[in-house]
Symmetry: C2
């Protein structure tokens, strides 16, 4: 039998059933309302239906639990008592808002309904009671619009078209200029639309309205946007949403009323300043939706100084109470202030650092708490280049600096196009009148966002800050023509695909591209990183293939190179030809000749990296890919030869091509991933191994001669058996000794292996007998453990992750019948929810991680002091770093830009391990 | 410091340092000589240098241990005392034989030298003493010939040519007809040849001869033929060979002398009859080499009745002593019998069964011992078809029935050609004058062997029996012309490539092909299998894709089908077209239409197999391979389109081809092994899963309607996560319930999974929550565990296994410089010894087996009664079966012909596990 679940958490007049720490149950919003009510802050009374009810709803196959209605009715009665109003009472109607509220804030994702309780009778009563026809019918209009959109799934457009028609008819500049009589007609028109499109009468019974709205909120937990957002942000599907039913207060009763949102500190820069926006005579979503550009909060101090002081006091108290920046919503009804929401404010990475450091200085939090609060993934954005301050550029417009950072890209006017172009590898800037939740995927795909409307708390600004994308909003100089896909800025006309740059830190819109430079990494960044370094136990190294990578990595705090991929060096234009000749050589003598040419180049490569990393270890992986990767493609050669033959081409050329094809055919593999590569190649062609080791040790000796300290670590890839390790290590040692003897130098170097095949993990005890270090190649280990070819598995992995919009075959968009718009492939069933994460981004702890654990345990058994690292792309992923810390690895290695992320995540791993221990 | 190793094991006159159970140390031959000496059997005195000295020789980089010479000299002195002869004494010379002898008999592999101690002086003394010039110089000739070949590596040919020249000159029919004076010239010619070719004087010092010969035996342990033989028979490289130095006795002193070999029972049929062959006035290798056709042993009873009786007595004693058939060698010197060797006799599979059953009847061994003695791998040969007794055929010749069984194939005259043609998939019969160790690879590649010369103990006969190949020897009617590659038999002329059939059971040579029928599996076979079934714990199932396979498997004793591969059904000619249309379908409706057509066919397939296996479980695996396997090849289409375009082909055809190519491109995968296949495909295209499940359950219901009991087990392939299992199982159950409801029947079926990916093994506890059985797909599991693509890895796996003769790129033969004769690829280094077995034939216990063990443990934890099977090709491999027994699997599944092998191996696993337990 189901456990009896508490259905309702009531809050009113200083008392609340809930508390601030009950976010799991009440969602962030519900918990905040309860906490504020308890703290004596003016909050309109209401109640919260907890997340558990939502989960029960889905568990029962989308059926509202039978006892919920009764409980809701009881709670409405209590609200009537508290407010002295009546639900459906035409003389003094109680109106409520219905809003979702999950544990984690999901801006724009969940749906809200205001003014619920209005019907043909109560609207008249409201008009009479307030003496404000315009207000009453405007409220009714808004309610029907939201009800039609959210509850009846009719979309916004049908309603907007009607309203826009009236605005035109009455020549109204904005919504508030539409006369009351016209609003009455609007309402009647809305009713007809609902009847004709949704095939129901607009419900006049407030309870019916309420139950329908509650169910709609439940359902919205699983709408496409919500699912997409959760996937993107790794929020579990199993949380559910709470529903908040709260007495309406009205910011739209006239000029003494207003509604607004704000932050206790600047969410873009972190600066300690009261920050926010409001609109007089407006309701709810008006500010955030960016329909009218709102006024800065400082204006409120002039308009209503008492209310403003009260607001400052309350929000300051809230910040101290929660020990973090607060993002709040308020409504002023006839000069009376109500707080509608408070929650931890989202912030840019820059702001996150500044706020954390400032709160430590203000003694509100400890250094450890400061570290624990920063999202490591976001820190990467701080490292990306900014506009070169010395560069000259042409500023064509200015807007609100909504989200800092610099971006250059081709302009696009639609979210879908942004995704499409980004997938082709193009940098795009999304240019919109305003953004809505429908644009999220496009914003995510863009380098930066630019809108004509909206303020600092508009949808575009909030989402951009959250994604760490540079954004400028409210740039009213833009004249966007959505139809021709062009924009006029003054006398300049830009078309889709033209380059534009935006500086989200200054609000400057620039024509063309602007050169970038590396950002300044001192100040708060350095402070936080130093704190993190003092806490973390894991070493952090970089994956770096060039001296430039190495230099950048060192600047970002790398303690060595964990992976230098030598094959990238062979793909360079001046080398691929020599590499090909080496492969095609018909005698050993010939092959050695080309290897000698490669030796000179490789020595220089290694010298450069070793020098940059002087004093620190550098792990160099010997040749990894199969040889055919360096040769022309088989099928292309086949077609080329067929063409030459049919067109009577030069027989000598044809013969030459055929010879090349023969060699390509010899090297062709059905599953190159599992073929002749890495150590296997080194065993069959030891001259390649010899050349590479010679290059490393010669470079090291030459540097040592200049008193530069180097610590090369030679790493053998694709080892599955200790016997392979043994055979290759013998060649490494022999060659190194030979070189050191010739150069009369002694280099301290290690020989180790990648652990990237399940067998290597399972027999790690044997392999550790030969290997002085292990580096987990979790990319390949994930491929073989799952049996997922990274190049091929995308098509079903995305399907497994329930990206309903993508075709499992070609990645194109699916239409609603499941037919791909690109390749026409027909997906027969609804997408699955088989994978809750991408195993190529975050380590699969159970499977791949299970093998890593086995290898760590067995490796240490044979060689207790074995160095253990990870160098797959997982090395820079915070969740993986937690796993690496818990598993006791020595270091993680990641791309240079992920180094600070890793430093921070490694420190957080220590803190959360300590917290877990403490709990136990 | 090296341990002091005993250098010499002496044996003479009833006393011996060694014993019969010291085979590891003294080799089979040395242990046998010691044991016979101890038993008072007449054995020429001698001594054995143990295998440990050989290993020391290789360990020291091929240097003879320093103290060996002294020890050998001491032992020769002891032999002089015992025999009263002098080593190098010209009046009464002591001559010795030097022979290799490893733990396992390796016929024809290791080399022998007879008559050592002869030089220009002692040969004259021997002639004087015996009054037999011919004997003395014939012995000297033989010694020089063998010394030149084996010790000086000059090969046989140079010597044979000289001798043949003399034979021609003196018009000698056979060797014994060459007059003594001519033999003296032969010897002088041999000396000159040695001097000119080997650049040394033939050594006259007997000790120098002896030490060189001993070292040559050591070296022969690592000659190519020995290495190849060991690989083929899984004999470890680390055993080494012993060296036996034994006083010569002479079968070539005249008509009262003879030499022979024999068996205590018929090695071809197992019949209890004294069996052997001899030659009067002959020495050593003459009988086995097949140069003269020897006389059957029964003749000896007439020629020398006393000696014959003595021989019968001795060999009967030996058989009882060793409790097994003995293979012996003897020499009669002037009517005095000497035993030169006794060892367990090699036998055909037929004989092995008969002998085992007979020995149990004779109470010499127990049933368990009988079971333990039979090599499971060999039993398979008993199952292969025999000539249809009702068929009419044209017998063109008769020879000795040397190895039973029937074979049809194209005739070839050279071993290399046999290998070459066999690699192309052709059945060949190797036709030779006689065979030598150089022909072994060709014999192995042939279906049968036919020789003109040689007796039942000739090289061809011995090797054929050992390999279980049908063979006829001594078929003197054949007139082989090696130059024109043809053979005349009476008036028939056959050329290379013509078909010939041989019946090794009757000795009949038949022109053309003969139809085959299944063999009779009653009698000894049934007896042994019944004993095995009573002992074994593992179930044995078959991999069967057709009713015919299933029927055969059931006849061979299968207890169910462990793997029915449904995709093979789609490749059939009448189905591939429908399958392609199903894949290319552009709408679901279209796809369902073709699936419906496939449904009818599959239902029939399943009904057939389920009916054959009624009362037994049948595991049916749903579609496994990626879809593109059913479509034309991408590169071929590309070339075809290019051709059509350039040649102005029909635009409609080109468009059609391009459309096909587009779909092929969509489905193209870089690593199909790790791509969209198995359950993944079933998840994305559940209609395929539905169709297959419907076919199975409909067939089952229809059979149940006929009161036929069926137990389908539905198996999902390529599962890496429990979530995949969950999603597919839901479809299986839903479809099955639907069908059962429609048919109003209740079918007992299971749903389980392959464990063929490392992640499935590691997370087996989760997967067992859904799966009612596991079947280990060790083929694929080996691929992903090692990272070896089976299609590609051959090139380096053969290299890893040190098949020095094969190119790692194309598999062609390598010349001595390491250059491939086929593709010209140059192997830069000596082959490695990295893999001691083929992991695709025998399970890799450490790695793949390690994962199997983890899965078994985890699976049982969740579901204690889970059925556990193995259905990779490993399932029929005896070593793997031992592993499966030890790991506690429920059953193994293998190809029908391996069923009896598996039944036997499973019983042996019980016996060896008991023995191990007993030891502990």
């Amino acid at each position: 039998m189901a456990q009896k679940i508490k259905r309702i958490y009531f809050f009113a007049k200083g008392k609340a059933d809930g508390k601030g720490d009950m976010k799991d149950l009440l969602g962030g919003k519900g918990a905040g309302l309860a906490e504020m009510t308890r703290a004596g802050i003016p909050v309109p009374p209401g109640f919260t239906i907890p997340t558990t009810v939502c989960l029960e709803y889905f568990k029962k196959g989308m059926k509202v639990p039978s006892d919920l209605r009764e409980e809701v009715k009881k709670s409405i009665k209590r609200l009537e008592t508290v407010t002295g109003k009546g639900f459906g009472n035409k003389d003094n109607p109680l109106l409520v808002s219905v809003r979702s509220g999950a544990k984690f804030s999901m801006p724009g994702m969940m749906d809200t309904i205001l003014n619920l309780g209005l019907n043909d009778q109560t609207v008249a009563g409201l008009a009479d009671k307030t003496g404000n026809q315009r207000f009453a019918y405007d409220s009714y209009r808004r309610f029907m619009y939201m009800f039609g959109d959210v509850v009846l799934n009719m979309g916004k457009k049908v309603f907007e078209e009607v309203f826009e028609g009236y605005k035109k008819k009455y020549n109204a500049k904005d919504d508030t200029s539409v006369p009351p009589a016209a609003l009455k007609s609007v309402v009647e028109d809305f009713k007809s639309i609902i009847k004709s499109k949704a095939k129901i009468e607009f419900p006049q019974d407030p309870y019916q309205q309420l139950f329908m709205a509650i169910e709609a909120v439940f359902k919205s937990w699983n709408n496409d946007r919500a699912i997409y957002y959760r996937k993107q942000n790794n929020i579990p599907e199993t949380l559910g949403t709470a529903v908040n039913v709260q007495t309406m207060v009205f910011g739209n009763t006239g000029d003494k009323s207003a509604t607004g949102v704000g932050f206790t500190r600047n969410p873009a820069t972190g600066e300690k300043m009261f920050y926010g926006e409001y609109l007089t005579n407006a309701q709810g979503e008006d500010v955030v939706a960016g329909i009218r550009t709102p006024k800065p909060i400082s204006e409120l101090g002039k308009e209503m100084p008492v209310v403003f002081r009260q607001l400052r006091d309350i929000t300051t108290r809230l910040e101290k109470h929660y020990r973090d920046v607060q993002d709040f919503e308020f409504t002023i009804e006839n000069e009376k202030l109500y707080m509608l929401q408070t929650r931890t404010g989202k912030r840019t990475p820059q702001a996150a650092l500044k706020i954390a450091v400032d709160l430590v200085k203000e003694r509100l939090i400890t250094k450890e708490q400061a570290i624990a609060r920063i999202e490591p993934d976001k820190v990467e954005q701080l490292l990306h280049p900014v506009f070169d301050p010395k560069a000259k550029y042409d500023v064509i417009a200015k807007g609100l600096a909504a989200s800092p950072g610099a971006a250059s890209g081709m302009i696009v006017f639609e979210a879908n196009k942004a995704v499409e172009w980004a997938q082709k590898g193009q940098a795009v800037v999304l240019l919109r009148e305003e953004t809505s939740p429908d644009d999220i995927h496009g914003m995510d795909a863009s380098k930066g966002i630019l809108t004509r409307r909206g303020g600092m708390t508009s949808h575009a600004a909030v989402v951009a800050r959250q994604y760490g994308k540079p954004a400028i909003v409210g740039c009213e100089m833009l004249e966007i023509d959505a139809k021709t896909h062009s924009v006029k800025v003054g006398d300049k006309l830009l078309k889709e695909g033209d380059y534009l740059s935006i500086n989200g830190t200054t609000g400057e819109v620039i024509i063309g591209k602007v050169p970038f430079v590396d950002p300044d990494l001192t100040g708060d960044f350095k402070t936080i990183m130093t704190w993190a370094d003092n806490i973390r136990k894991l070493g952090v190294r970089a994956n770096a293939d060039t001296p430039r990578d190495a230099s950048r990595a060192r600047a970002f705090g790398a303690q060595g190179v964990g992976l230098c991929r030598t094959e990238h060096m062979f793909f360079a234009e001046d080398r691929i030809g020599i590499m090909q000749k080496m492969i095609l050589a018909e005698t050993r003598e010939e092959r050695l000749k080309f290897l000698d040419m490669l030796l000179v180049m490789q020595r220089q490569d290694f010298a450069g990296i070793l020098k940059e990393m002087q004093g620190l270890p550098v792990t160099i992986r010997l040749l990894d890919p199969p040889l055919h990767e360096f040769l022309p493609k088989r099928e292309e050669l086949m077609v080329e030869i067929t063409k030459l033959e049919l067109q009577g081409g030069n027989p000598a050329v044809i013969a030459e091509k055929k010879k090349l094809l023969a060699r390509v055919e010899e090297l062709h593999e059905f599953n190159p991933m599992l073929g002749l590569r890495g150590a296997r190649l080194g065993i069959i062609m030891p001259d390649i191994t010899r050349m590479q080791v010679r290059a490393i040790i010669e470079a090291a000796c030459d540097l040592l001669n200049q008193d530069i300290k180097v610590y090369p670590e030679i790493m053998l890839p694709v080892i599955s058996m200790v016997e392979e390790m043994h055979a290759q290590k013998a060649i490494v040692i022999e060659t190194a000794n030979e070189v050191m003897k010739q150069k009369n130098k002694k280099i301290k170097f290690l020989v180790g292996t990648m652990i990237e095949l399940p067998r290597a993990a399972i027999t790690a005890d044997e392999i550790a007998g030969e290997a002085e270090f292990f580096s987990f190649g979790t990319n390949d280990l994930t491929q073989t453990t799952y049996g997922f070819s990274r190049d091929d598995a995308g098509r079903f992995i995305s399907f497994y992750r329930s990206y309903s919009e993508h075709c499992p075959v070609c990645g194109g968009r699916l239409n609603k019948d499941g037919v791909c718009e690109v390749c026409g492939y027909h997906v027969m069933i609804k997408p699955q929810n088989i994978l809750s994460f991408d195993p190529f981004a975050t380590i699969d702890v159970k499977g791949v991680g299970g093998l890593v654990k086995i290898a760590v345990e067995k490796g240490r058994k044979t060689r207790p002091d074995i160095k253990l690292g990870i160098c797959g792309e997982h090395g820079g992923d915070p969740q993986t770093i937690h796993f690496c810390h818990d598993t006791g690895l020595t270091y993680v290695s990641c791309s240079p830009y992920r180094i600070p992320v890793a430093r921070l995540a490694a420190a957080q791993a220590v803190l959360s391990a300590a917290a877990t221990k403490h709990k136990k």
